[in-house]
């Protein structure tokens, strides 16, 4: 599904990603771990066409990211640190707008459905600007999946969510996985990573230093491997 070859990203003279090679199968749920400033968010930004790689080659579903980006953009949903929501619009209006942008059929119904799914039905028509951090994050998640994406890029999706919302989110990811969605999730929360992911990638200093499958969903394995790689942790 995702094929990354020798990807590097340089900002001015600083190397942020150093020759990343990665290949992810359809339907995998991959957690990307790593210390602060490792380049995790940057990797997601490159994949979601938000920034251009300095060199390297990315293929998504057989399409070249450089050329067929319009096709590719339809396929993925992206949840970055910021919410990408219009402040003075309500969740409903936001979701309907993005639904239409992505050409979703019946965007109105989809919007209502999603808002309900993330548990904010009561706030359907209130402007987003007054929402609390967790509420915004919930709507941002809904926005990212409004068009039934085949690929999900999630950058620390659990930030600000309460326990209820975390399990909602995990359920969403798992049910989308059941439908064949590929998920890349950056996180610092090993517990969640162990819970929903079946593959862990550890990035350090812009390089992939570990990459292993998680058959048993054990938190300990993750912590152990992470410690091993990032030992002497900051």
């Amino acid at each position: 599904m995702i094929e990354i070859k020798k990807l590097t990203k340089q900002a001015d003279n600083k190397l942020i990603l150093r020759s990343i090679d990665l290949s992810i199968e359809r339907g995998e749920t991959v957690a990307i771990l790593g210390p602060n400033g490792a380049g995790k968010s940057t990797l997601l930004k490159v994949l979601s066409t938000i920034i251009k790689p300095s060199s390297g080659f990315i293929k998504i579903n057989g399409l070249d990211l450089k050329k067929d980006y319009t096709e590719i953009k339809k396929m993925f949903g992206y949840l970055p640190h910021s919410s990408l929501l219009y402040d003075h619009y309500s969740p409903y209006e936001n979701l309907v707008f993005f639904g239409k942008v992505y050409g979703v059929e019946n965007p109105e119904q989809r919007a209502i459905e999603l808002v309900k799914e993330v548990g904010l039905s009561f706030f359907l028509n209130e402007p987003v600007k007054n929402f609390s951090r967790g509420m915004i994050q919930r709507i941002a998640i809904a926005r990212a999946i409004v068009h039934y994406p085949e690929i999900l890029y999630l950058d620390e999706p659990h930030t600000g969510l309460d326990q209820g919302a975390i399990s909602i989110l995990n359920n969403v990811i798992l049910s989308m996985k059941a439908k064949g969605t590929t998920t890349l999730m950056v996180t610092h929360d090993f517990k969640q990573a162990a819970e929903i992911c079946d593959r862990i990638i550890i990035i350090k200093n812009g390089k992939i230093v570990d990459d292993f499958r998680l058959e048993e969903r054990t938190l300990n394995l993750v912590t152990e491997k992470y410690q091993l790689q990032v030992e002497g942790v900051s």
Binding site: T49, V101, G103
Partner: protein, 226 residues
């Protein structure tokens, strides 16, 4: 097809949000009013010679309140990085440009419809030219100004202090349009005898408009690319 649909969708979003808050439009109109007021101090409106200044004032209003609106147009996409939301979505940069252009153009037309009659009234201006031609000139002038303005607003939005950068880039680039349009406006308002010269100006401006519009559509890809 989807190209235009997306553009309309974006324009609709902006205009709808304007309809809800009414902030930008209100500010533009009030600002236009202020400019008129300032000018009425600067030149005594009863003085007959200052009548000659009217065409200039018309365009000063459009330019200054236009800049306010243009600034907003991309700055408003910075909160929560919604611009990224658009860029990540499957739409072409040109259709973002077109959408923004349509929204801005609609707004400036509304400002003109409100402010210009008001100006004429305050300055007691007796129209002796041709209104349809005047409207034509207004239209092509605003078109050029807003199309270049939208483009440069997208460019300036990359800067941290974009609301300062925009006028800096916009004024020099649009002066040819503005010079031409002020001349043409003067003729259509006061001296219909020279209509042919006004039409020559109009043609020149239209050519400039078209060239720049195409150029903008072609180059916007590079501006919005991240």
């Amino acid at each position: 097809m989807t190209f235009f649909k997306t553009a309309f969708l974006l324009a609709k979003k902006d205009l709808y949000s304007e309809l809800k808050t009414k902030q930008v439009l209100a500010t533009m109109i009030i600002f236009a009013g202020l400019v008129i007021l300032v000018f009425s101090f600067a030149f005594d409106p009863t003085n007959n010679t200052t009548k000659a200044v009217i065409p200039g004032v018309v365009w000063v209003i459009i330019v200054f309140s236009g800049v306010l609106g243009l600034n907003r147009s991309f700055i408003s996409e910075q909160r929560n990085d919604t611009m990224q939301g658009l860029l990540v979505a499957p739409m072409e940069a040109a259709s973002i440009y077109l959408g923004k252009f349509l929204a801005n153009f609609t707004m400036i037309l509304i400002v003109e419809i409100v402010a210009i009659p008001f100006l004429f009234l305050l300055f007691n201006f007796q129209m002796i030219g041709s209104i349809p031609y005047f409207i034509l000139i207004l239209f092509i002038g605003s078109f050029g100004f807003i199309s270049i303005g939208t483009f440069l607003a997208a460019l300036a939005a990359n800067s941290k202090s974009s609301e300062m950068l925009l006028p800096l880039l916009l004024f020099p680039i649009t002066t040819p349009i503005l010079i031409g349009v002020v001349q043409a406006t003067r003729i259509t308002l006061t001296n219909m005898g020279k209509l042919s010269s006004a039409l020559a100006w109009a043609q020149l401006i239209s050519a400039y408009d078209v060239i720049f519009f195409v150029l903008c559509i072609l180059l916007i890809d590079y501006v919005l690319e991240v």
